[in-house]
């Protein structure tokens, strides 16, 4: 199965696990499987059905936005990583 690495702040929603095994042939399917296993992650990863703008999914060093997005195909032993983009600003 593919594996997704969870960023530190979201591990509270995966019982502390840093890596979760997921099923699916694409990044989108893998993320759906991830939030099926850990539903509290959904609101922090998705806004409706779209990835939140500050949520990045990397396969090795590549951002899926520069591949085929959620339709990017993944191998059964692929390692994915959820990477937040930190941003802020004043009122």
């Amino acid at each position: 199965m593919a594996k997704i690495r969870i960023p530190t702040p979201l591990r509270a929603f995966t019982d502390g696990a840093a890596n979760i095994n997921v099923a699916g042939g694409t990044v989108g399917e893998a993320l759906v499987n991830l939030v099926d296993q850990h539903p509290e992650l959904r609101d922090h990863l998705f806004n409706d059905d779209e990835l939140r703008s500050f949520v990045n999914i990397f396969i090795d060093d590549e951002d899926i936005r520069f591949l085929q997005g959620l339709d990017t195909e993944i191998a059964v032993d692929e390692s994915l990583r959820i990477i937040p983009s930190i941003a802020g600003g004043r009122l």
Partner: protein, 141 residues
């Protein structure tokens, strides 16, 4: 929940945020979480990569910065526990932009820099339902 920060690290943050004024600056917080106490062990300043003309009211890091610092924290037996940034000539209160880009279980330290002088530091946590930030007690030791 309370957050413990040494006076030396607080001073470093103030100096960094005054140096980046009138633009926003920031960085990562590394440390330990023990029950309801968050202890900040180190701060790592990170370059603001927002478009230069917007840096007076916006701050951003790259995803690669997150990867680098999360891996460094792991290697040092620490955790990536939050981030800090400045609000130039504005209060140390999270904006709607802050909330939209925030994560729960992550400490947000905001420093208000008024006329190039760091004047206030406050700590915030996003609620699990993403609806708002709550203020967190800061203990400067």
């Amino acid at each position: 929940m309370r957050v413990i920060l040494s006076s030396a690290l607080q001073q470093h943050i103030f100096e960094q945020m005054e140096a980046t004024y009138p633009n926003e600056g920031g960085g990562f917080l590394l440390g330990q979480v023990d029950a309801k106490v968050v202890t900040i062990e180190d701060i790592i300043q990170v370059e603001n990569v927002f478009a230069e003309e917007e840096q007076h009211h916006r701050y951003a890091m790259t995803p690669q910065d997150w990867i680098r610092l999360e891996d460094e924290a792991d290697e040092r037996g620490l955790s990536l526990i939050g981030y800090y940034h400045s609000h130039p000539d504005s209060p140390a209160i999270p904006s709607e932009y802050d909330r939209e880009h925030a994560l729960p279980n992550f400490v947000y330290i905001i420093t208000s820099v008024m006329m190039a002088r760091a004047e206030d530091m406050r700590v915030w946590l996003l609620r699990a339902d993403r609806s708002a930030f709550d203020s967190v007690a800061l203990q400067v030791s």
